[in-house]
Amino acid sequence: MTRPLLFVVCLQLLAGSLLAADPPTLHDEIDAVFRSQSAMQEPPLCSDSEFLRRASLDLNGVPPTADEVRAFLADESPDKRAKMVDHLMASPRFERRLVEFLDVMLMERRANSNITQDEWVAWLQKRVQEKKGWNELARELLTANGADGERAAARFYLDRGSDPHLLTRDVGRIFLGRDLQCAQCHDHPLISDYLMLDYQGMLAVFSAGYEVKVKQGDKEVNCYAEHAGSDLQFESVFFKGTPHLSSARLFGGAEFQEPFFLPGDEYSVAPADKTIAVPKHSRRQQFADAATSGQIHEFNENMANRLWAFMMGEGLVPVLDVHQSENPPSNLELLQLAGQRFAATNFDMRNFLRELALTRVYQRAWDAPSDLMPHSVTASELLASAQSETAAIEQAATQADAALSTALSQFYEAEAQLVPAVKELQDTRTKYADQSKKVAEALTAVQKAEGDVSAKQAIVTPVAEASDKAKVAAEKLPEDKELAAAAATFAQRATQLAAELEQLQAAVNEKKTAHTATVEAQNAVKVEVEMALAKVKPLRDALQQKDAALVAARQASIRTNTKLNSHLQRVEALQQLVNVKVIRDQIAAQQQTIQNERQDLVLAQANVTDYAATVTTAQNNQATAQQAMQTAAAQLTAAETQHAEQLKKVQTLTVALTSTEAVQQQLPGDELIGDAIAKLKERSTTLNETLGQRATEVEQAKNQVTESEKQLAAATTAMQQVLQERDQRVKAQQDAQTRVDGAVGQLATLESNETQNHEALLKSLSRRAVLSDLQPLTAEQMCWSIFEVTGVYERYRAGEIAELDKASPLSDEAKQDPAQVLAREREIERRTYEKLKGNLGVFITTFAAGAGQPQDEFFATVDQALFTANGGPIQSWVAPAAGNVTERVVKAEAPEQAAEELYLGVFSRMPTPEETQDVAAYLASRGDQKPAAAQELVWSLISSAEFRFKH
């Protein structure tokens, strides 16, 4: 951490000293804007090795070599980053990178149907080497016709098939950052900033263009010529029946002023087969001049934003070709500043990129900040202040929208007035054109008649002369009858011919009269045209006034809505930052809640546990009572049995006594019988006594049972009460558990909110230039980076240098001449590129989006992974060869050294101790297969996310 901090101080000193002497540089201004608006003061900067990799990839398209990293890390000069930026930009590889950027941006990998890729790239390269500004380049592209100047410049038009709709769309997207496609047939349904008249205004420029075949050398080629423009009429598919005029215009601007030409007078070179027509007024030229004038903020900001995205990974306006208020810049002030300054420096792309590279914004760290809490605290005040502004900004936007709505309806009213007049003008123009055709026809007729006269004259004269001479000869030889007859014939023929000539001359006069009549009629129509024009003029002037008002209202509406949305995004970002603490506090509170709930749970659990003994006692009591009850019941049963048995004995005896008494009546006085009766009676008495006893016993047993029943009921009631209490305690425990579970679940939700907020916040911070962002390498960067780290590029480069040094060595004197040295460097780069460019194709088909699709979207597909994992080329490039990283790993004796070579060579940074250990372990596990192991390691690094992205 000490190094970046030291660097921060140095930069500030540097900035301070600059401020004293000169006006602020753009990079200082950019940093100042961010500093004034950032919720995080002085965010951390990236490490030196990260900076070097980042700058090398951006400016040279490849990561630095291990030696370059070592040298940079060892360099202790405070301005080494700035020096490195200049060093990288001095390389021909910077020019190559800029050419690739321009190529992909302009052509989006479309097929080369008219201009070869070599021609096109050479053309771009020349412009880049000549340090042409973007305005010049754009003007050249937009006015090219493929015949004048360098043909390659016409590729933008020609390889889009010269289609007016495609060109309208792509010029809008690529040069102005506005994709107007959905405004083609109606005002844009989703993007209120884009109107149908924007689309139609651009279409009015490009529908004048057309493709024509022209002979160049010994072959015919397509060229992009231009007709004289006409007022297109269009109607919205939403509001049929209301015609509009579409004059040529730039997005958001007023209609172009155009000179008026009578039909037939519009061209300096009229359209014809195999000819490039040249209209006296070129809409395309007017469009190109206006767009590149520096006054059109859409044009200026579009490229400034694209160059920003080139360096920073994401544009200030994130979707590069949809600048509109719903896709607002992350920093409106900065976008305006960037656009103005880019235009003010004559659209110098190098200078602009250099300024971006020198900003602290460019040098931000990529890693997630370790502690956001303090920033979260400070952000709440900013958030409150920002939120307090929202209502006013919203109101301004609403007002601007209302003003726009009024301006738009006034414009359309004025247009409705103008449309019939224009229609009339068009009709008179058509009439004039028809009349012109008649004049031409009449003139042709005169010429033909005059031709007839001349032809006749050519016969009349010699015949007349011959006739005269024959007459003279006949007079001189009056005898000669034959001669006289001949002379008569001549005379007759001469007279006849003279009569014919006279007729023809009469015809000429007739045709001349007719011609004069048509010319007069034409002049009359011309007057009509002029009258129609005069009628149009005040209406057009009125419309232009409304147009100017509309332009102002639109710019105001777009500006205020952009400001509003930009503001709302800032509020959202601040909210995310504030949420860091809010969510953390919620989490802490929730953790406390969980702790409390857990304590409650422990208590409840104890309540359940403690009560167990009481439950057991009650259960035992109940069981005892149950037992007693059973015993009593058994005793009752026994007593009743005994009672019954006794009763049976008594009854039997009673029967015996009754029978004996009956015998005594029959045998009265029989002693024995009497004794027996007496004895039986005696026994009966004792038996009855016992029966009485048994009855008492039964009674007692019954009472005992009743008593036991009471006791059992009491014990059961008691037990039920205890069980109820236990159930309550168990439920209390379960409730406590539920509360704990709920609280834990809430914590999980909060933690997931925190993760999401964190991710969103990091993204916002990247957008607001507090952190840097990941940026995938382009297909070209992937290709050249792999060639770079595997040493393939260096091997080919060395070969080219050797060849050049042999074929045309630079003298010592030449070596002192920067121009010659640069020329040599360029030649070496060009030759190396030419040798290796054949490999680009597979990278483009694998890693780039399809032809004609936007090229700035990242996607990770299986075929890419399969190509890197198993494809032949990469397997062969990672093999050990002539001092490349694989060979250096193989040759390294100590594992630390191997790890260093590996990480410096592929990741352009030193390995951490853990990484060194991993490498050592990998190599050790492979024993004597070190070359294979080294190759696998290099492959692993190349196929990792750390290599795939700039960070």
């Binding site: 994401e314 991710e759 990770a860 299986v862």
Partner: protein, 429 residues
């Protein structure tokens, strides 16, 4: 503008891993569809049951008169007869005797009128459901299906084109849906490119280097987790998974008897491969049969070509039905256009888009049906006229995709199918 990765709902977070396969995540721009997540979810609701689509593209322009809509005994009918099929009342050309026995599964659409007689433009319309316009390119049916029909196995490509030649690489036919949904071409029935472990690597060392790669990625992601890096790391896991399933693409694993049934020619092999791919839950397969552009000797050509098609196609339909896949598989037989009723002086038929036929089967499509009607000698549609846009809507609706829905690409709503058109409800059950 919201960042797709942090769209803020619990379900999305939970489902993240599952979606990574389909994420074309934002880096340079806000990318790959702002609503990658919500949209995928919407898709899941649309097609919960795994659906599949197979398209037989009769390249060059199949003659409807020598196939689905014969007019024997008329001035335009040519030499071939019409034969009865397994569905009483429906007759097709005698060149399709085996297919005639599968008619109970098929639905003939005989009133197709596309008004486009150019090969390129016609093919574009039939496969994209719209006319090509210079300023806007549309994704092909395969890309739309791959995007809207949730695959059972996200590691497999969702959009396969089987051709006799071809590179084995990724096509450029997904337009704004992005390369994730572009076709993978299986040229000569070969598996996708680079699906074999490099010869110099043992399985162990390949596993070791991938482990090392994972370790590096983990360290990098721990510094800061991002959707793009996650998606990139995950693409390698998908690649490994695909390598393990490489045999799915190897038609030689199918029984020899099946190849015999399908025919041992290219088209037979490709059709059998299509069956294999569909059985393995590939969402969309397109097979081409070349070449029907019979300006000369139309009848000889069709005699030979249609016989080849008949054998493979009938076996395919029978198998799909027998294997219980017909309810979830849409089968389409299309061309760029049909051929003229008029027979030219070279015994050929020329390009003709006014009255021709497309065949569908399976999924929600009515079985054993003939929809639409041409006049007696086939020179005009008399009833049930449909065009490419109606058909495109119908294909999607047949696999339970709401064709009136739209993709959300960077905030732009782009309809699945031509919003000014609609499907053919009469043939959907």
């Amino acid at each position: 503008m919201k960042v797709p990765y942090a769209c803020g709902s619990q379900e999305h977070l939970l489902a993240r891993r599952g979606f990574l396969g389909t994420v074309a995540a934002g880096a340079g721009a806000v990318v790959g569809g702002l609503n990658v997540f919500s949209e995928s979810q919407a898709m899941a609701e649309l097609a919960s049951e795994q659906k599949r689509v197979v398209v037989f593209n009769m390249h060059g322009g199949l003659s409807q008169l020598e196939s689905w809509d014969p007019k024997p005994g008329t001035d335009t009918g040519g030499p071939f007869r019409a034969i009865p099929t397994s569905v009483p009342g429906i007759h097709i050309s005698e060149l399709l005797p085996l297919t005639a026995q599968q008619m109970q599964h098929l639905c003939l659409v005989r009133g197709v009128n596309t008004s486009e007689d150019d090969h390129g433009k016609g093919a574009y319309m039939m496969l994209h459901g719209r006319r090509q316009t210079p300023a806007s390119d549309y994704p092909t049916l395969g890309a739309v299906v791959a995007r809207t029909v949730t695959p059972a196995d996200p590691s497999l490509p969702g959009h396969i084109v089987v051709t006799p030649g071809g590179s084995g690489g990724r096509g450029n036919d997904a337009a704004y849906l992005g390369p994730r949904y572009s076709s993978i071409t299986l040229g000569n029935g070969q598996p996708p490119q680079n699906t074999e472990r490099p010869g110099a690597l043992t399985p162990e060392s390949d596993a070791a280097r991938h482990d090392f790669r994972r370790k590096i990625n983990e360290r990098f992601l721990n510094r800061r987790r991002t959707a793009v890096a996650d998606a990139y790391a995950y693409s390698y896991e998908q690649a490994l998974s695909l390598m393990q399933k490489r045999e799915i693409f190897d038609v030689s694993k199918e029984p020899a008897a099946d190849l015999e049934r399908y025919g041992t020619h290219d088209f037979g092999r490709m059709t059998l491969l299509a069956r294999r791919l569909l059985e393995n839950d590939i969402s969309f397969v397109q097979v081409s049969h070349s070449n029907y552009d019979t300006h000369n000797e139309n009848f000889n050509f069709h005699l030979e070509q249609v016989a080849e098609f008949d054998r493979s196609f009938s076996a395919f339909v029978a198998d799909i039905a027998a294997r219980g896949m017909l309810d979830s598989t849409l089968i389409v037989v299309l061309s760029e256009f049909g051929r003229t009723p008029n027979i030219n002086q070279y015994y050929g038929r020329d390009h003709w888009s006014r009255a021709w036929s497309v065949v569908m089967a399976g999924s929600r499509v009515a079985r054993g049906a003939a929809y639409g009607k041409t006049n007696a000698n086939g020179t005009a549609v008399e009833d049930g006229q449909v065009d490419h846009a109606n058909l495109f809507h119908t294909y999607l609706q047949a696999v339970a995709v709401d064709s009136s829905n739209s993709f959300d690409i960077n905030g732009r709503e782009l309809p699945f199918a031509d919003p000014s058109s609609h499907g053919i409800p009469e043939i959907l059950t």
